[in-house]
Every structure is written in structure tokens, then in C-alpha cells.
């Protein structure tokens, strides 16, 4: 029965149409139960409760959810102790859409606490492991989503991406991960981190699977005032048009010192392949790239510190009994938050505090404008920008956890797309000599996910890299 777990989402939907979804759900329940003790990709999952009806376009097949997205009546934790036993009273819009499309909401995926991290090591419930090498990180923060898709423990998963949290783990685990344009997918019911950056998106085995889920997830939502009114095309339609004549930019600032030579080689080989397929490769410049990480760690932590103000022990989650209200706030937050959450809350509070706002926060927002303008200029010349997703393949558990800046720099290629609000995705493009996946990032103009997915599909179909799987029991 393991065979059913290795199906793509598209193939599984066809099988479910014929035989019903139950055999598929049973197979995944069995495989997930066997592998989760090793991988720790799922925080909560009860194989006995799994059942799905064959209805809608997704026909009951299992999709797993990052544990910062609210599901009515199911505990949500953000991998933090401060949300202990919190049960949301409503469905996030993306959950409502998945249910309407007939998906079975399967497991809830491990992540960095409040999505603060690039390795899944800051989870209060233990790190998730990379299925390609269990001594290495799966990336983060959507590490559990990426690892579970890579390990065939779920057909697909949802993640959220604030500075690379879908794309970087997708790259490190060898799966497809899409961060849509800011505003394309509703954030209603996503527990907020950086409200001007956060986007929900799919992690899947193939580009076509990602397009299928993008069709389900996208669209304006009156419940999210920052969701965009733009019309949503059928993302599966454009996939097969090929890349002949497509202009693809290679930004010189993304091929810098510190990038693993194997990663660089693999990504440059991908550019050569695109050329062979008929695309035009152009050297471009995004001159403010080096400042992205600094801007992000001002503006995103400012938004985070404000968003995490609500965790005070009053309405939900943990409450540490105290003699008065003030003490309850301080004690609940001290005991509930992990170290990285505290670091970001403190940093965000500082950059927003009187006397420092202009020097840090306002300065960060201004440089954010320069980074946006870099992309606006570049997209006058090219249709798609190609780069590595992450400077290295998966690193060892513990390797970067002591040095926050080293960890933050692993997001240097993914953060700019969030600062500019443009769509970006990662697809597998090769392997290192020690058999670790390498990810290729594609970025496109705002709301032009179709062109980005088309370019990704052409590469994937030509190379077939997605067919290689990690060796796990």
C-alpha cells in the first residue's frame, strides 16, 4: 500500500475518483504513524480520526496544515507553549476553501515557534528532521510541512512564508514551495507574524500539484482587508506553454561569496538548461540585495512584537497564576515564549520605542522602498528572475542555532521577495555530492504566478528531478 503514498496530488485525485479516498487515507495514516517518531514532522495527528468523503475537486485526499493556521475545533499551537490547549473557534479562510474543495484536513505540521526561524529548531515540541538526512534540519519555519511532503507522509501541505518560510524548507527537503503575491491568498485565520509580509502557500511534490492548490487557495476575501481584488486565473492552464522566448534574469548579487559552490553550479546549470529550452538569459542587477536581511530584521520583528502583544494570558492559551494582572502578563510571557520569540519581541519593541523609531523602523521602511524599486526596474527587462533559494543545502541540527545572525543570513535570497510582495517559489534543481537536495528560486511580477509556475513546470518536466525520493523505512 506504500505505493499510494508516493502518488502525486494529481494522481491521487484520479485514484480517489475511481476507488474513493479511504485507501489513500489509510496508507498515509499508516506511513505517517510509522515515520513520525523519526521525522517529527507532525505535532498532532490521530490516524483513527482520519476519514474523508469523495467530493469536490480534491476528492477527499489528505492535505496537512502548518500549525499556525486555525482549524475550527482543533488545537493550534504555533509550536509554542504560550498557546497551550488553545482551540480556535473558526476556520481560517484557506481551511474553509480546502474543505469546500473536498480535501481531508490531515495532520498539523511542526514549525519554528511562531514561524521565527529557518531550521525548525525553535519548536517548543522538539525539532523536525530532514528526511534526506535525519541529523540535518528540514529548514524553516515551515519545516514540518516540507519534511512531511518529502517523506510521503502527506500528499501536500500548507505553509506560511514571511521571509522564506515556505521556499527555504522546500529547497532543503527537495519539494516544491510557492509563496504567492502578497494579497493573493487570504491571511484570515493565519496567526500573524509580520502582517505586511505573511502569505500562506502550498508545499507539494510537483509544480502541477502546486498549481492545483493555488487554484483552491487564491482569491479575494472580505474577511482580510489586505487581500487583493485581482482576478484569479486557472493556474494549471498556463503550465504547458513552455519557456520559448521567456526572458529570465540572473541577478549578480545572488551569486556571492558564501554560497556553496555545489549550489551555485547546480543553479547555473539550470540557467543553461532554460537557455537550451529557448529562454533568453539576461544578467541583471538588484543592487540593494545585501541590505534585505537588515531591513527584514527591523520591520518584520517590529510587526512581530506588536502581533505577539496579544499573548498575555487573558483570552487564550497559557496563563501563569499571579497575584495581580501586571505580574500575570510578565510571568505568562516569560514562561510561554521560547528564546527566539523573546529575542524578536525585544528587538521589535526596541526599534519601535520612543527615540529609536526613526533611526531603525523608518529607515528600514525606506530601504524597503529601494528594494521594491530594484525589482520594478528588473521586471522591465525580464519576465522571471532565477536564483538559488538558499546559499547552502540542509545544515546540521545545532550548527547555526547559537548564532542568530548566521541563521538569519540563510534567508538572504528569500527575504527580498517578501519585502517587495512579489510571488516566488522554490523547485528542486539537483543534489549535492552527499545527496542533499538543492533548490532553485523563481520570482515573478506581482500577480503573475502563472508565468512563474510555467517556468518551473518546464524545468521540472525536462529534468524529472522530483522523482528521486529520500530513503526512509
Amino acid at each position: 500500500m506504500t505505493d499510494l503514498c508516493s502518488l502525486t496530488l494529481k494522481e491521487a485525485i484520479e485514484v480517489a475518483k475511481r476507488d474513493g479516498a479511504q485507501p489513500i487515507l489509510d496508507s498515509f495514516a499508516k506511513r505517517a504513524a510509522a515515520l513520525n517518531p523519526k521525522v517529527n514532522a507532525f505535532l498532532r495527528f490521530d490516524p483513527k480520526k482520519v476519514s474523508g468523503a469523495v467530493q469536490g475537486s480534491l476528492c477527499g485526499v489528505p492535505v496537512s496544515i502548518k500549525d499556525n493556521i486555525c482549524i475550527d475545533g482543533r488545537e493550534v499551537t504555533c509550536a509554542s507553549k504560550i498557546l497551550t490547549k488553545h482551540v480556535p473557534p473558526y476556520d481560517a479562510t484557506v481551511i474553509e476553501k480546502l474543505k469546500t474543495a473536498g480535501a481531508t484536513i490531515f495532520s498539523q505540521c511542526n514549525m519554528d515557534e511562531f514561524a521565527f526561524g529557518s531550521s525548525c529548531e525553535t519548536s517548543a515540541f522538539g525539532p523536525c528532521k530532514n528526511p534526506w538526512d535525519l541529523t540535518r534540519v528540514p529548514g524553516g519555519s515551515s519545516g514540518g510541512s516540507a519534511a512531511s511532503v518529502a517523506a510521503d507522509m502527506t500528499l501536500a501541505a500548507l505553509g506560511s512564508d514571511t521571509g522564506g518560510s515556505i521556499r527555504q524548507p522546500a529547497a532543503l527537503c527537495g519539494v516544491v514551495g510557492v509563496k504567492p503575491t502578497y494579497g493573493r491568498v487570504s491571511r484570515y485565520g493565519l496567526i500573524a507574524f509580520g502582517s505586511s509580509f505573511d502569505q500562506i502557500g502550498p508545499l507539494t511534490k510537483t509544480v502541477e500539484d502546486a498549481a492545483i492548490l493555488m487554484n483552491v487557495l487564491s482569491g479575494h476575501d472580505p474577511k482580510d482587508s489586505t487581500s487583493a481584488p485581482q482576478p484569479v486565473p486557472d493556474f494549471t492552464q498556463a503550465l504547458k506553454r513552455g519557456v520559448k522566448g521567456l526572458k529570465i534574469g540572473l541577478p549578480k548579487e545572488y551569486f556571492i561569496e558564501g554560497i556553496d559552490p555545489e549550489v551555485e553550479k547546480s543553479v547555473r546549470a539550470a540557467a543553461d538548461l532554460y537557455k537550451k529550452l529557448g529562454a533568453e538569459i539576461k544578467a541583471i542587477s538588484l543592487p540593494h540585495t545585501e541590505h534585505s536581511v537588515a531591513v527584514y530584521y527591523i520591520v518584520a520583528v517590529a510587526e512581530a512584537s506588536s502581533n505577539l502583544g496579544r499573548f498575555d494570558g487573558v483570552q487564550y492559551g497559557l496563563r501563569v497564576p499571579s497575584k495581580d494582572l501586571r505580574e500575570m502578563y510578565f510571568e505568562t510571557r516569560d514562561q510561554g515564549f521560547g528564546q527566539e520569540a523573546k529575542r524578536r519581541v525585544l528587538l521589535g519593541t526596541f526599534v519601535l520605542s520612543a527615540g529609536y523609531y526613526e533611526a531603525y523602523y523608518l529607515k528600514g521602511q525606506k530601504v524597503r522602498t529601494l528594494i521594491r524599486q530594484d525589482f520594478e526596474k528588473a521586471f522591465k527587462e525580464v519576465d522571471v528572475i532565477l536564483s538559488p533559494t538558499s546559499p547552502t543545502a540542509a545544515f546540521k541540527i545545532g550548527e547555526k542555532s547559537a548564532d542568530p545572525i548566521a541563521m538569519y543570513l540563510s534567508d538572504i535570497f528569500t527575504i527580498p521577495a517578501n519585502l517587495a510582495g512579489i510571488p516566488a517559489m522554490s523547485i528542486p534543481c539537483g543534489f549535492t555530492s552527499s545527496d542533499l537536495p538543492i533548490g532553485l528560486q523563481l520570482m515573478a511580477r506581482p500577480f503573475d504566478e502563472s508565468t512563474m509556475l510555467r517556468a518551473a513546470y518546464a524545468f521540472e518536466q525536462e529534468t524529472g528531478i522530483y522523482k528521486k525520493k529520500p530513503k526512509l523505512g
Partner: protein, 93 residues
């Protein structure tokens, strides 16, 4: 270093343990030194970006719709009391 960890922790409503205070102060100092590299850019003529979408004044009709979210939210609250969240005393005498 300009960051006063005690003051910021007070603003952020965090009781830091002495052993974590030192490490966090050091980390934050290093991060602030790093982000200070932005100072070499002249941004005097640049407008700040607070949001990437050109949306303004997004309204919807203020209509009553059926919802039992309030009752469900209270069900799992740390200390509900009827329709209220109960909290410890605010003013001590």
C-alpha cells in the same frame, strides 16, 4: 551599546531570568550592529514602504451574520466567567 535590556523587557512585558538576560542583551547588540549597516545608504529622498499593495480605505458593509465564535472562544479561555474573561485584580490596595 544603546539598548537597555531592562527597559526594553519592561516595555515588552517580559520577566527575563538573569541568566537569559545577558545572552539576549549580547545577541540584540550584535543584531543592532548588523542592521546599522543601513546607515550608509542615503534615504533622505526615499518614501517609506509600509505596505506593498495600493489598497486604500477597504470597507465592507457592517452586517450582522450568525456566529457562535464568542461562546466557543470562551469555552477554551484560561478562566471564563459567564460571558467574561476573568483576570486577577488590577489595582492592589
Amino acid at each position: 551599546m544603546e539598548l537597555n535590556i531592562d527597559k526594553v523587557a519592561e516595555l515588552a512585558r517580559l520577566n527575563l531570568k538573569p541568566e537569559e538576560k545577558q545572552k539576549l542583551a549580547k545577541d540584540l547588540g550584535a543584531i543592532l550592529d548588523y542592521v546599522k549597516t543601513l546607515d550608509k545608504l542615503d534615504t533622505s529622498k526615499v518614501e517609506p514602504t509600509s505596505h506593498v499593495l495600493d489598497l486604500e480605505n477597504v470597507y465592507r458593509k457592517d452586517e450582522v451574520k450568525p456566529s457562535n465564535a464568542a461562546e466557543k472562544a470562551l469555552e477554551h479561555a484560561p478562566q471564563p466567567d459567564g460571558r467574561f474573561f476573568k483576570v486577577p485584580k488590577i489595582v492592589q490596595r
